[in-house]
Symmetry: C2
Subunit: 247 residues, 2 copies
DNA sequence: TCGCGCAGGATTGTATACGATCCGCGCCGA
DNA sequence: TCGGCGCGGATCGTATACAATCCTGCGCGA
């Protein structure tokens, strides 16, 4: 069932134009990573839940080895926490943690935007890439596909990061993106989806205009302030309670 | 020898009062990670080199499984690159890459310093922690221990990051630190070690003074500008040539 | 001579088997 | 009654075995 999650994640590249991008052969590890993220985003695994390797392996019909490697990756990205011989758990997500993630993320994206503008990447090609990502977002919104929306949102900001032209930055951003995807999928963000789409329109417009300071303010607003008044702790608590009702 | 790297890593809490921090049982995976980093930093593995699992496993006297997990971790941190069924290589380090790493790193550290100052952590405890890290650095310098110096330098900046009070930021910083440690160990930085120690003294002084802007300028200077005039490509090329002489 | 297919070896990906550690539960003696 | 104590199940960490894939070089025919 989390099979399609894997395909969704591979559809990262704006694609179609540049055919045969390097398509790395999907190994079981990749599938496992995607499946775990998807499971967490749709609430099958809740923050703080124990994750048992053998269980996952059984459910996915593969052996423990790829599962372990996937978990190691996720651990090094802060998605899960592990204590040797004791077990692995999905990251605890508190409101404080959410703010920490977003604080770093907004700073990274602002840096990316700054470098992108310095390099004059707010040109036709750059804007086209952003608009395309925006359309994906709009599509998911019209479908009311929450997980898809979270992925598309990540896609938009990924494009922005890549316009920065710094792969190291992009790589770090990916770590955060995973966490944000989980959180976003879980919380169905404060604002309605169409409003969020419009926010992205605004981002594109400001980016096109080319003022670094303005872009920084807008990004900060978009990323940090947006989540400011979400009571995430309550949402998680409610989710846990819901599950207690019907196992 | 990379033992102290691990302990430094657990020394998250600013203090020293609360002894017996959790000391995670060192598994083979941890050893493997440390060994690979150390090997890269001392030039036993050079940028671009192929890394063969079975070889490492044989040399370390363990099986391939922990090696693989270690490599997965390092891959997700950008230290090695992997292509399924083809192999794993140590990251290519060009001058451009070095600048990319340092650009992100300086921004992260500036953010950490900003948050630390906002929270008023340039107090007695915070400064003491920094000075302690500085002394470690001085010690390594007096011993002319290059790898130890690289570790101690990382230690200093780790303390600074942790004063920021954002574990997410610290986690991302650790990824970069690994890469910087390798690069630093390889290049024996442009300036002599005592001069670098003094630069850290200056950083402490500025931090104590508490001006965010000034601290940002100083950090940028210290991190980015320092490496600006190192011809890293030449250094790597020379290393490779040296090895070609005597295998 | 040159291009092509195709073994053979090397290396990675995955599965299975086994040992190490932790945790909860029941026994037993004070 | 209560606290130590050992034992068994569950789960994690590691080793070994096997399958999938890729690269290399050789033979063969045009």
């Amino acid at each position: 069932m989390p099979r399609n999650a894997a395909t969704a994640e591979t559809a990262e590249r704006p694609d179609a134009a540049r055919r045969w991008e390097k398509a790395r052969p999907q190994t079981m590890v990749d599938h496992a990573v995607a499946a775990i993220i998807a499971g967490a985003a749709r609430g099958a695994i809740l923050p703080g839940d124990r994750i048992v390797e053998a269980e996952l392996a059984r459910d996915m019909g593969i052996s423990r080895v790829p599962i372990r490697e996937a978990l190691r990756i996720l651990e090094s990205q802060g998605v899960v926490t592990s204590e040797p011989y004791k077990g692995i758990r999905l990251m605890e997500v508190s409101h404080a943690r959410l703010e920490q993630v977003l604080d770093v993320r907004s700073n990274l994206e602002i840096l990316a935007a700054r470098r992108a503008l310095e390099a004059g990447r707010n040109d036709r090609a750059g804007l086209a890439a952003l608009r395309k990502a925006r359309d994906e977002l709009d599509l998911a919104a019209k479908r009311r596909d929450v997980y898809g929306f979270a992925l598309a949102d990540a896609g938009f900001h990924r494009v922005l990061c890549e316009l920065g032209g710094n792969p190291v930055l992009s790589m770090l951003w990916e770590s955060l993106a995973r966490q944000v995807t989980i959180i976003g999928g879980l919380a169905t963000l404060g604002k309605p989806m169409p409003a969020i789409v419009r926010e992205h329109d605004l981002l594109i417009k400001v980016f096109a205009r080319g003022s670094i300071d303005e872009m920084a303010r807008e990004l900060h607003e978009h990323i940090v302030v947006m989540a400011h008044d979400i009571d995430f702790d309550a949402i998680v608590a409610r989710r846990i309670e819901e599950r207690r009702q019907k196992p």
